[in-house]
């Protein structure tokens, strides 16, 4: 028997410092725009300044003659070089939209690329944009998604014949009858405005083409190198081994870098055609105008309850403003459909009807943004819960307690078809209440309120599906498989361990956490392990990092591959140490016979297997490299409760967050330091979504928030310290026991802040139906409520 102490994990669960940090702290990172290739041509784009127009003519002669300009391209110059991109889906009532690298005859949103200038540097490329003349014949533009549904609305994609690019309905029970019979009904029309993911690194990419080897390498600030490799291979009709997509260090993504963009296709096409490196460095204006936006829904919702607070029925009618195109590979359906599929949340809601329409407008396309649909679903549901609690004169925590799915009810099938596996729904609520001392918080609030102060407390409970496997990822019929992940783990001839993955870390610290998993499973030293990721050439199939998948899927693949590799190492060691396999174990990079002082280092075993031929029988020299694919099939549920305490300054309408607590169940915690960091950052984004961040277009489809002065993301002075409590209440069915947690903070925070704002304004009789609640909106709300109270 091996020593049980040795078997105990040492790295999983430990606050291991990140291996990524030294390079990033010293300016030695390798971000896409850091790649310097002599002779590279720089692209600048002349983008549409019209929201909707036909292109009647383009004159590029003056631009082409400008100093330093190498070539000017329009859509006509690309005919035959590249196929249009289409995000297909098997979903009924879905219309894919063709997307060309440069607008072809028509523009559908401000910022759409129309002409590309290639020049010797970025300055000269941008100079030449002024030499381009484009004749537009303006078309009627539609900016309001409700108007886009109208019979006389301009249709963006004539081949679709409608602006409704996707439509879906979930239904369980007789919603009309249940609503009619219910004694308590609360509801309203909710609005969650459009966001920009706003990674601090703007999108950038450089394509290089090695003509001798026919090898195209795209270095890009992307979350999905594997998806892009597969798509480019198709669009350019090249074999996968001739297309490599690299995302070494990526400066944040949050979903904004999880789609394939026209710029990436164009640099690849032109680099291959010209045999030269072609680069594009996006600026912040381009980021805010063209990186996929997030959220943007109108939700009419109603919740029916019994007099004791038992939830009876929920109905939601959702319009998702998806912008001008259906984004690749996710489709226009992804964001709005998740609003209705997750609307019932972690509660027992027997009867449900949720209907959603994804509506095209003349704005930038929406795509995945941290939380995807669920921040909106949670905002609406948690607001309804608080409205119901007030109607019933029940404490909001108590109403949640009565309706959260109970431990004995798992697995619980949500009315939309989602199945929650066991997760600490109720425990998260209780632990968050305990951590913040909820009763005292309410007492303090009562005193402050008596003194005339606008203080509020808001709770948000939610559940999400994470680490989604092939069963669920296949359901919408997208052209990619997100439900599996591959690990190749190798012990090389020097005794070093390398783990290759299809994921693409962009801040999550996966080079550290996956090394922790492998170290424990293999018995290797952390220092001997290197994780390679962010490169499509590493594994046969990969997609990238998004949707809170990487710890669950790559972690599971790592566990699976490391276990098999360890068996092989131990079999080799049993020959070398002349001991039975059962008596041998590995730890700290050594293999030892338990109860003896006989041991070998991984290095010694590697040498015996690879180089010191003769030390092992020929058939005992197994390959010390294992590839395993992991598919969690369904995935797992992650649950949390957030509690926010805040005060509104009635003079300035500035909101000050005083306390913020998150209790979450992310299963087995690999690295608590990293989990804390993910929660903090996600909550900060949720606070921004609740209070300041809004992408605004005017009625003509012009973007009004095109700088970081107008699109306001939170600074250090606006984010409170965030207290986190990690529960590990139920072991999920995933290999390794991990649940995903990268997005959760952004799912809970808008709802918690909205409920706290509504609570603060309760004495005035005001409700919160709209986010972000900017100072201007708060001012109007307070002014109107005060006027109504006075009877004006």
């Amino acid at each position: 028997m091996a020593d049980p102490d040795v078997l105990r994990p040492k790295h999983i669960g430990a606050r291991v410092r990140r291996v990524e940090d030294p390079r990033l702290l010293t300016g030695q990172g390798a971000f896409a725009d850091d790649r310097i290739v002599p002779g590279a041509l720089h692209i600048a784009f002349r983008r549409s300044d019209h929201a909707h127009a036909l292109i009647s003519g383009i004159d590029t002669a003056a631009a082409a003659a400008m100093p330093g300009v190498f070539a000017v391209y329009t859509a006509a110059d690309l005919e035959g070089l590249v196929e249009p991109l289409r995000a297909t889906s098997r979903m009924r009532n879905y219309h894919a939209t063709p997307l060309y690298p440069l607008a072809r005859g028509r523009v559908r949103h401000v910022g759409e690329p129309v002409v590309a200038v290639l020049a010797e540097d970025r300055y000269r490329a941008e100079d030449a944009l002024d030499g381009i003349a484009i004749d537009y014949a303006p078309l009627a533009a539609v900016s309001d998604p409700r108007a886009a549904l109208g019979a006389d609305a301009p249709v963006l994609h004539e081949e679709a014949g409608t602006n409704v690019l996707a439509e879906r309905e979930f239904s369980r029970g007789d919603i009309a009858a249940e609503l009619a019979a219910a004694p308590i009904r609360v509801g309203g029309s909710f609005r969650f405005h459009r966001k920009a993911p706003t990674a601090i690194e703007n999108r950038a990419c450089i394509a290089e083409y090695d003509r001798g080897r026919r090898l195209l390498t795209l270095t890009s600030s992307t979350q999905i190198p594997g998806v892009i490799r597969d798509a480019l291979a198709d669009l350019l009709d090249m074999p996968g081994h001739s297309v490599r997509v690299v995302a070494a260090d990526v400066g944040g993504g949050f979903g904004g870098k999880a789609s394939l963009y026209p710029e990436e296709i164009l640099v690849a096409v032109l680099a291959r055609r010209l045999g030269r490196a072609v680069r594009w460095t996006g600026d912040r204006l381009e980021d805010l105008a063209t990186t996929s936006h997030g959220f943007d829904e109108i939700i009419d919702a109603e919740l029916a309850l019994d007099r004791d607070g038992t939830m009876l029925a929920l109905s939601a009618e959702v319009i998702g403003d998806v912008g001008a195109y259906s984004i690749y590979p996710w489709t226009a359906a992804l964001e709005p459909v998740q609003v209705v599929s997750f609307m019932p949340g972690p509660y027992r809601v027997p009867t449900y009807r949720g209907r959603v329409r994804a509506v095209a407008t003349n704005k930038a396309p929406t795509g995945p943004y941290r939380g995807v649909g669920r921040p909106i679903a949670t905002f609406v549901m948690e607001r309804l819960v608080d409205m119901a609690a007030r109607r019933l004169s029940l404490d909001p925590a108590e109403l949640r307690r009565r309706n959260l799915v109970r431990p004995e009810e798992f697995p619980y099938r949500v009315a939309s078809g989602i199945v929650w596996d066991r997760s600490g729904f109720g425990e998260c609520l209780e632990r968050a209440c305990a951590a913040i001392d909820y009763p005292k918080l309410r007492t303090d609030q009562g005193k402050a309120r008596a003194a005339g102060r606008l203080c509020g407390v808001g709770i948000a409970s939610y559940a999400e599906l994470t680490g989604i496997g092939s069963r669920i990822s296949a359901a919408p019929g997208m052209p990619i498989n997100t439900g599996t992940e591959t690990a190749t783990i190798r012990l090389d001839s020097t005794g070093a361990v390398t783990g290759n993955f299809g994921i693409a870390s962009h801040g999550q610290g996966l080079e550290t956490t996956l090394a922790q998993v492998i170290a424990d499973e293999l018995g290797a030293r952390l220092a001997d392990i290197q994780i390679l990721q962010g490169d499509s050439a590493l594994v046969a199939h990969g997609t990238g990092t998004y949707a809170s998948r990487s710890a669950v899927l790559a972690g599971g693949a790592a566990v699976s591959a490391a276990r098999l590799l360890k068996e092989r190492i131990i079999r080799a060691a049993s020959h070398l140490l002349e001991a039975a396999v059962e008596d041998i174990d590995a730890a700290d990079g050594r293999v030892f016979v338990s109860g003896t002082d006989r041991s070998l280092s991984f290095r010694e075993i590697a040498r015996a297997v690879y180089t010191e031929i003769g030390r092992l029988p020929r058939d005992a020299r197994e390959e010390l490299e294992v590839t395993k694919v992991y598919d969690p099939f369904f995935g797992t549920a992650t649950a949390a409760t957030h509690i926010a305490a805040l005060e509104i300054d009635p003079q300035t309408c500035k909101v000050r967050l005083d306390r913020y607590v998150v209790a979450e169940d992310c299963g087995r915690v690999i690295n608590p330091m990293i989990v804390d960091g993910q929660v903090h950052g996600a909550v900060a984004q949720g606070i921004g979504a609740a209070l300041t961040e809004e992408i605004v277009y005017d009625e003509a489809g012009q973007l009004l928030t095109a700088s970081l002065v107008d699109y306001v993301i939170p600074a250090a002075s606006e984010v409170p310290p965030i207290e986190t409590i990690h529960l590990d209440t139920e072991s999920p069915s995933t290999l390794g026991g991990f649940r995903g947690m990268g997005e959760g903070g952004t799912i809970g925070a808008p709802a918690a802040v909205a409920n706290a704002l509504a609570d603060a304004l309760a004495p005035l009789g005001a409700e919160i139906f709209e986010l972000p609640m900017t100072p201007e909106r708060l001012f109007r709300l307070i002014t109107e409520a005060t006027a109504q109270a006075r009877g004006d």
Partner: protein, 162 residues
Amino acid sequence: MSKHRTIKATVNGIAYERSVEPRLLLSDFLRQTLGLTGTHVGCEHGVCGACTVLIDGDSARACLYFAVQADGRHIETVEGLGTIDDLSPLQQEFREHHALQCGFCTPGMLMTCVDLLKKYPLASDAEIRDGLSGNLCRCTGYEHIVRAVRAAAARRGRKDDG
């Protein structure tokens, strides 16, 4: 375009003489001309602070300076702090407290902190947060950065760190 001008600037202790266009941004001079890609560019309009460097000891946004304005001046960038094998005390605290995730805002954040640590008591978290409020980070939610700066401020007075 316009005629080139010759500038002499000291960057991280090394004297450079280069011929540049008057319109060349300092951020592009550092990244493209000198190959010091540690200084990152996040907005090119002076809001995000990712490109923060020290000019004659004071923090400044390299995207709001022209390279010609650096003529005769001393510039310090993230490459002038510690090395991978020998991190500076501030860099060590950033690592210890997990004050970075994607690492893109980090060089600017560090250079701002160098300036703050030199000039201000940083006696409270509120003061630290005020000092950091000109540098945007989208990953961390700032709490871990605040802790790192708090630790670096405390360490500042100790003898062993000089």
